[in-house]
C-alpha cells in the first residue's frame, strides 16, 4: 500500500516522465493534479476492497452455487434462497422456521436497543452535564471501559455463577425468604440473553451519544431555562434533538451486533434459543457453505434495511 503512495509522489513530478510515448502520456495523466486525491485515497480503498468488498462478493457468489452432501459446484441458481424460505409462504399465517428465527432475533434486537439506549443516554447525560471537570469525565469514562479488559466470552460466562440455579442471586433470595424455590428464569432464558446484551453493548451507545452531547453549548440549556423550559422540557426539546446523531450511530452499532450475534444467545440462552447467526453457524459446521451464504445475504439485507430506516431519521454525515 505504501508503495502506491510513494509511487504517487514520484509521479507528481512531471519532468521525470517522458511525454512522447503512449505510456508517457498515460503516466502524465496519472501524475496530474486531478489524480492526486485518488492516489491519496488508494491505500485505504485497497484495504477495504480486499478485506471488505471481496469477501462480501464471494459470499454473494457462493450463495448462488449448488451443493450436496459431498460436493459444492459453481452455478447460478436460486435454490439456496428457496430453501431458506421453503414453506414460508405456504405455511402462512403460521410462521415458518426462518420467520420465527428472525422474529426471535429481532425481538432481542429491539430489547437490547431500547435498554442500551435508555442506559447509554442516561450515563452520557450524567457524564456530560453533571460531571463538571474534564478529569472527572475522563476517569469515569475509563471506569466504563474496564469490562473491556477481558474477553466477551469471559464476561458472559461470569454471569453463570451469579444467576444459576444455585447461584449467588438465588441463594440470596432463598435465604432472605423472598422466594421459596430458586428462580429458574434468571439463567439460560430470554432474561439472561437480554442482560448480557445490555452488559456487552451499552458502552457502544454511551460513546457516540456522549460525543454528540459534549458538543452542546451549555448556553443553550440556559437559554431554554430563560424561556421557561422545565428540566424535562429542556431535555426533550434541546438535548435529545441535538444528541440524535449520536443516538443513531450508537443504535446502528447495537442493532448490527445483536442481529449477527450467535455466541451470546448461545451461551446465555443455554443453546436453547434460536438466532439467525446460530443457523448460519450450524450450516457452516455441516459444510453447507452455499446455504449459509444465502442466509448471510438475507441477514445482511435485513440489517441494511433497519439501518436505512434509522439513518432516514437523521443525517449521519453531519456528525462525521
Amino acid at each position: 500500500m505504501s508503495d502506491g503512495g510513494a509511487g504517487g509522489t514520484a509521479l507528481l513530478r512531471p519532468s521525470a516522465v517522458p511525454a512522447t510515448t503512449g505510456v508517457g502520456v498515460w503516466l502524465r495523466r496519472l501524475a496530474s493534479r486531478a489524480a492526486a486525491p485518488y492516489w491519496q485515497a488508494a491505500p485505504l480503498a485497497l484495504v477495504f476492497a480486499f478485506f471488505f468488498v471481496l469477501p462480501l462478493v464471494v459470499t454473494v457468489v457462493v450463495s448462488l452455487w449448488r451443493y450436496n452432501e459431498y460436493s459444492i459446484t459453481p452455478a447460478l441458481v436460486g435454490d439456496n434462497y428457496a430453501s431458506v424460505f421453503s414453506g414460508c409462504l405456504a405455511e402462512l399465517p403460521s410462521l415458518c422456521l426462518t420467520f420465527k428465527t428472525y422474529l426471535s432475533t429481532l425481538k432481542f434486537c429491539v430489547l437490547a436497543w431500547a435498554l442500551t439506549l435508555l442506559l447509554g443516554f442516561t450515563v452520557a447525560y450524567f457524564l456530560t452535564f453533571h460531571v463538571r471537570s474534564l478529569t472527572g469525565q475522563m476517569t469515569l469514562f475509563l471506569v466504563c471501559t474496564i469490562p473491556f479488559w477481558t474477553s466477551n466470552v469471559i464476561r458472559m460466562i461470569s454471569w453463570v455463577p451469579l444467576l444459576g440455579r444455585n447461584g449467588l442471586v438465588n441463594s440470596f433470595l432463598v435465604s432472605a425468604g423472598l422466594t421459596r424455590e430458586p428462580l429458574t428464569w434468571l439463567l439460560f432464558s430470554d432474561f439472561s440473553v437480554a442482560l448480557a446484551f445490555v452488559h456487552l453493548y451499552t458502552m457502544f451507545m454511551i460513546v457516540p451519544i456522549f460525543n454528540s452531547m459534549s458538543r452542546i453549548d451549555r448556553a443553550l440549556l440556559e437559554a431554554a431555562r430563560d424561556a421557561g423550559a422545565s428540566g424535562w422540557q429542556a431535555l426533550w426539546n434541546v438535548v435529545v434533538p441535538l444528541s440524535k446523531p449520536g443516538i443513531v450511530i450508537g443504535s446502528i452499532f447495537v442493532v448490527t451486533m445483536v442481529m449477527g450475534d450467535y455466541v451470546t444467545i448461545g451461551v446465555m440462552g443455554g443453546q436453547q434459543i434460536a438466532s439467525v447467526g446460530k443457523v448460519i453457524q450450524v450450516q457452516l459446521s455441516y459444510l453447507q457453505f452455499p446455504l449459509a451464504a444465502a442466509n448471510a445475504v438475507v441477514l445482511l439485507a435485513v440489517v441494511l434495511m433497519v439501518i436505512a430506516a434509522m439513518t432516514r431519521l437523521v443525517d449521519v454525515r453531519k456528525e462525521l
Partner: protein, 338 residues
C-alpha cells in the same frame, strides 16, 4: 401621564441591594447597590473580570446570589427561576437552538408554555417582523449571518414581553460597521418598547452612545454611575477617567486631576514668556480626520494626549520631537478621589 401608568412605571424599578457573588473564596461582585428605574437604558461598563456579567446573570437568575437581594417592582426576585422574573436574556453568543428554524427559535418560550402551534407561530412571526427578519423565518441559525442571528436572538428574548431585557455583550461578535448599525437599532427598539434594557459591555463608546445610565464597574464594585455626560465630564476616580478614555490624568499642585484630551492646549516653546506649568516633547502625531491626536511625553514622564480639531491644529502644526508647553483652562480640570 395617567396615574396608572406612572404607578406601573415605579412598579417596574429594578433594585440591587448589597448584591454579592462569591465563587469559592473569590468575590466577583462585592455588595453592589444599584437602582434602575423603568424604561432606562442601562449599560454596565467595565474591563473583563470586573463582575459586570456576573451582575447581569444574577439579575437574570442564571447565577445564584451569594448575599444581598434583587428586587423588581417592589418584590424580591432573588430566588425566582429566570422565567418568572419578568426578565429575558440575550446571550453573548446568542445561544440559538441550532436544530430549530428562526421561527421555532422565537416561538420556543411559547411552546414551553403550551401555546398551540398555529398561535405561537403567528405571534413569533409578528416579533420577527419587529426585528425585520420575516424573510428568514424558515432558516436555521447556521444559515444566518452574525447580524441576522442577533436579530433572531433579540426576537426570541422579546416574545415573552419581558419588562427588562438583559443583553450580555450583544454587539461584540459583530464587525465594526454592523456594530454601529445594530447599536442604533437597539436604542430604537428600547425607545419603542419602553422597557428597561440592561446591557453589559466593555466598550465605553457603546455605553456612551446607548445609555441613559452608565454604571462603571471595577473589581466587583461600582466605581461611578450617572448619565454618560456626567460620567464623561466628571469622572470620579482615576480608574473611571482612564477607562472611559479621552482623559489625561495628571498631578497638579499635589492633587490628581483629570483633564479632557480635547481641552488640553499645546504651545510651541520658543524661549520667551512666562514659565509654563508643564513642559514636554511631542512623540507622535495622528491624523484622525475630524481631529488630530498629539501624544506628548511630559518632562516628569507622564504620557499625555491632546485632541485638536484639524483647523486648530493647522494653525500651529507640531511634529514629533517638538518641545511644547502643556496648559489647560482652570475649569477644564477637576479633582479625582483616591
Amino acid at each position: 401621564m395617567p396615574p396608572s401608568e406612572s404607578a406601573q412605571a415605579s412598579a417596574a424599578t429594578l433594585e440591587l441591594v448589597e448584591t454579592t457573588k462569591r465563587y469559592g473564596g473569590v468575590v466577583a461582585v462585592d455588595a453592589i447597590s444599584l437602582r434602575i428605574s423603568a424604561g432606562t437604558y442601562c449599560c454596565l461598563l467595565g474591563p473583563s473580570g470586573c463582575g459586570k456579567t456576573s451582575t447581569l446573570r444574577m439579575i437574570a437568575g442564571h447565577e445564584t446570589v451569594s448575599a444581598g437581594a434583587v428586587v423588581f417592582g417592589g418584590h424580591e426576585i432573588t430566588d425566582l427561576p429566570p422565567a418568572r422574573r419578568g426578565t429575558a436574556m440575550m446571550f453573548q453568543s446568542y445561544a440559538l437552538f441550532p436544530h430549530l428554524t428562526a421561527l421555532d427559535n422565537v416561538a420556543f418560550a411559547l411552546k414551553m408554555r403550551g401555546v398551540d402551534r398555529v398561535a405561537r407561530h403567528a405571534r413569533a412571526a409578528e416579533v420577527l417582523a419587529l426585528v425585520a427578519m420575516s424573510a428568514y423565518a424558515d432558516r436555521r441559525p447556521g444559515e444566518l449571518s452574525g447580524g441576522q442571528q442577533q436579530r433572531v436572538a433579540l426576537a426570541r428574548a422579546l416574545i415573552t414581553e419581558p419588562k427588562i431585557l438583559l443583553l450580555d455583550e450583544p454587539l461584540s461578535a459583530l464587525d465594526p460597521y454592523l456594530r454601529v448599525r445594530m447599536r442604533a437599532e437597539l436604542k430604537r427598539l428600547q425607545r419603542e418598547l419602553g422597557i428597561t434594557f440592561v446591557h453589559v459591555t466593555h466598550s465605553q463608546e457603546e455605553a456612551m452612545a446607548l445609555a441613559d445610565l452608565v454604571v462603571v464597574m471595577n473589581e466587583g464594585r461600582i466605581e461611578q454611575q450617572g448619565s454618560p455626560r456626567e460620567v464623561f465630564n466628571r469622572p470620579r476616580t482615576e480608574f473611571v477617567a482612564r477607562f472611559i478614555g479621552g482623559h489625561n490624568v495628571v498631578t497638579a499642585r499635589g492633587a490628581r486631576v483629570a483633564v479632557r484630551a480635547d481641552r488640553l492646549q499645546l504651545r510651541r516653546l520658543n524661549g520667551h514668556g512666562e514659565a509654563p506649568p508643564t513642559k514636554g516633547t511631542v512623540t507622535n502625531v495622528e491624523y484622525q480626520g475630524t481631529v488630530v491626536q498629539t501624544s506628548v511625553t511630559a518632562d516628569d514622564g507622564t504620557e499625555l494626549i491632546a485632541l485638536a480639531p484639524e483647523q486648530v491644529f493647522d494653525r500651529e502644526p507640531l511634529t514629533p520631537g517638538t518641545r511644547v508647553a502643556v496648559d489647560w483652562e482652570p475649569g477644564a480640570a477637576h479633582a479625582l478621589t483616591q
